[in-house]
Symmetry: C2
Subunit: 461 residues, 2 copies
């Protein structure tokens, strides 16, 4: 397919694309505020209307909460790939309103400190601008070539900013309709202003609360100190033993399923020019911790962790009380990568703790969620095609990056629909999403549309 006329059409009709984004932003679809339920419905109707007008088989689908928009383009034919595109049409609340320079739902163009142009308004970046990059790319392809070269299902939810309560049941109820070759998820950032990125890895998470019990009441340390078991001591010894001197987690089998990074990905990361020391220094950290012999990026994106997120026991108020507490607790979480099994990790931790209990101590466990890591296989062809398409648009190699945290929808696509996700987005770290004066760079929007046209074309090949 000749892309040049498609890209030219995107350029020449960009003012219309901007106008549509402004229309979309004007709908205050704040999902967490019941007072805006009708606005959320209006947002869904607006989007479905646009997609219907393009020729999609689009519908607004009710849920127990805000509706889903589902739109299908299947005219590419059964021999072509079928992708699921996901973005959300709801937005964050606007408080504190007085910090907005202009009303949040009256979008405007403004100039950034470096002279760049930006679209200002709630949802400009998160996620209405990102959503429309794909819709506008489809529009240009359809207008210029008469259709899309691949089959596309668009899924847009209106509850992403309020915990996505309807997403799981909706995916379960519509498994066949929504399960396709790969998901394209547009809710992430570029690596930097010049460098496109595909996020391929998100760490999983296992949370576990452990409570060590000793006496059946708090004791006075003068009366009982010495022969009475102190559960804080037991807990400290257990937690201290979770890592060896090289920073590795000591649980047996913990590193089962943890892959080493392929050399080409490692070279890609080395080429990003990421300054680990500066990253840590930005939050006041003067030295790296964790596993010896691993870079900061590798530790965040590709290595598992065991972290104590909270600890409590005894008296922690002002002053001093010489109490020997009856119990002590810690909240422990494990970030998982690769094929680490959340069930096995939780079991290994519980066994580790139980084996280390001294006589007279008792342990209680409370699970707090568990999900495996997400990763797009490095040899998935969609990754190479998407990366090449982005590089063609931006003129720089695409960063193949990871993320330290999780994006729930991507996990559900994998676990419920058996579908990997290509996470591509054009947000920037200064977009102030969730904050007053949220913005989306005009370049992000414009070149984002061009990027999706290129990716859609590449996936057809």
């Amino acid at each position: 397919m000749a892309l040049t006329p498609v890209l030219s059409r995107i350029d020449t009709s960009f003012d219309d694309s901007l106008k549509r984004l402004f229309d979309f932003i004007r709908i205050p679809s704040i999902s967490t505020d019941p007072a805006h339920a009708a606005d959320c419905a209006r947002g869904a109707e607006w989007l479905a209307g646009e997609l219907s007008a393009l020729g999609f088989d689009a519908s607004v689908r009710p849920t127990a909460g805000h509706p889903m928009v589902v739109a299908h383009w299947t005219k590419a034919g059964p021999d072509k790939p079928h992708v699921l595109f996901y973005a959300h049409y709801d937005v964050q609340p606007v408080d504190p309103l007085h910090l907005w320079e202009t009303p949040p739902f009256e979008p405007r163009l403004a100039e950034g400190p470096d002279g760049s142009r930006r679209i200002v308004g709630r949802g400009a970046a998160d996620d209405k601008g990102q959503l429309l990059t794909f819709v506008e790319a489809a529009r240009a392809l359809i207008a210029e070539t008469g259709g899309l070269p691949i089959n596309v299902t668009i899924l847009s939810e209106g509850e992403e900013e309020s915990g996505s309560p309807s997403l799981l049941p909706f995916l379960e109820a519509n498994r066949a309709e929504l399960s396709h070759d790969v998901a394209l998820v547009c809710d992430t950032n570029m690596w930097d202003r010049q460098t496109p990125a595909i996020t391929t890895m998100l760490r999983g998470l296992v949370g576990e609360e452990v409570t060590i019990h000793a006496a059946d009441q708090d004791l006075h340390s003068g009366m009982f100190g010495g022969p009475a078991l102190n559960p804080i001591h037991v807990l400290a010894r257990i937690l201290a033993g979770l890592h060896d001197d090289a920073g590795r987690v000591t649980l047996p089998g913990f590193y089962d399923g943890v892959p080493e990074i392929p050399d080409d990905i490692r070279r890609n990361w080395d080429g990003l020019g990421f300054d680990g020391d500066a990253f840590l220094a930005s939050v006041g950290l003067t030295a790296p911790a964790g596993e010896a012999g691993r870079t900061v990026l590798e530790k965040i994106w590709a290595r598992p962790t065991a972290e104590v997120n909270g600890i409590s026991g005894g008296y922690a108020g002002d002053g001093f009380k010489t109490v020997l507490p009856a119990k002590a607790s810690a909240k422990v979480s494990f970030r998982l990568v690769g094929d680490q099994d959340p069930v096995a990790i939780r079991a290994a931790f519980r066994a580790y703790v139980t084996e280390r209990l001294p006589a007279g101590a008792r342990v209680e466990f409370h699970p707090h969620g568990g999900s495996p890591a997400i990763r797009l296989s490095f040899d998935n062809p969609a990754l190479a095609k998407g990366a090449a398409a982005l590089q063609a648009e931006w003129g720089k190699p695409t960063a193949i990056i990871g993320g330290g945290g999780s994006i729930p929808v991507v996990g559900l696509f994998k676990s419920l629909l058996g579908m990997d996700s290509l996470m591509v987005g054009f947000g920037l770290s200064d977009d102030r999403i969730h904050s007053p004066n949220e913005k989306y760079d005009v370049t992000s929007y414009h070149k984002g549309i061009r990027s999706w046209a290129r990716i859609i074309d590449a996936l057809a090949g």
Copy 2:
């Protein structure tokens, strides 16, 4: 001196002794309640009046709070020992009043479950009954023999139940007047209903709060987990290293000045029939902790400890937050015995922590008090004399016991007046001091008076 007539007089005039204790209890000298300030003053006046009538040079001495009673008997002559007797005339509040079977300041005789007779009322045991055991013994000695065989200064404060704010300045201001050969402190218990006790050891205490700092803000564990130093981990490793596998404290020099118990004291303790397992089981503990190879009694009375009394860091509320906290804190205390130096122990702990700080961690210390252990030297002749006198009265060997906690006045006598204390008391563990229906056994009072007569006589020899 012939004691028999003195003891007979105590027996025959016991009803009068009881009547005086009832009069004393009727004065509601609640020190912590400003509404009872006049009652406290009245309590002091009553006591000084009784002592003056006996021939003491007694006075009520004003302080910034409730007054002190000081009374001297120096007619034994300069070649005789001079002791300082201490007990307090103030009492605890009576709340909750509705749980009292009879009004707290209307003392009465009642019968215990085992048929024993008891004096019921606020302050009966703590400390008015104990105080009068000594005064009534002096009364009998003076009445029967014309005087006391030793020189005696009586010091009674009215703020013991409200933190003794005036005690330190009063002792400092009257050092010469109050410093004598040994202090007799009557505010402790018998070992059991049949066995008299002298408390000779009270552990000292060093309190220290340690805070480990890492990042300058709380971090998200998805974003930073791995390369970011977690101060809870640092703290856990430090605290875990405070004890070795045999339960000994690892601080260099920690056991300097910790004496081994002499064989005769060890035999005395073995003879007490103390059931360490039952003691621990009473608070739900199923196994002893602490130093290997030491008995429960030894651990509480004669061995030092390092205990974490409180720990905090990160999120400790309901549910789970994957935070990497900026800091984590622990409150650590050391119980000291023998000649352990609080200053050296604090310094050793700080050095230990500082040496174990990994790169990028910072530590902050806050001291929370420090006092050395109190101990009456096992070869102090007053101990042997007092023990023999008590054995003669009760017909059982005197228990030479320790206490796990501290009694501030005893520490002040040592540090300000350079005076050891013989702690002798006739309270029982079921006296319900500080609680409704406080009682003092008639036997405690009667044989307590006889005991002091014997001890005073013995100290003269």
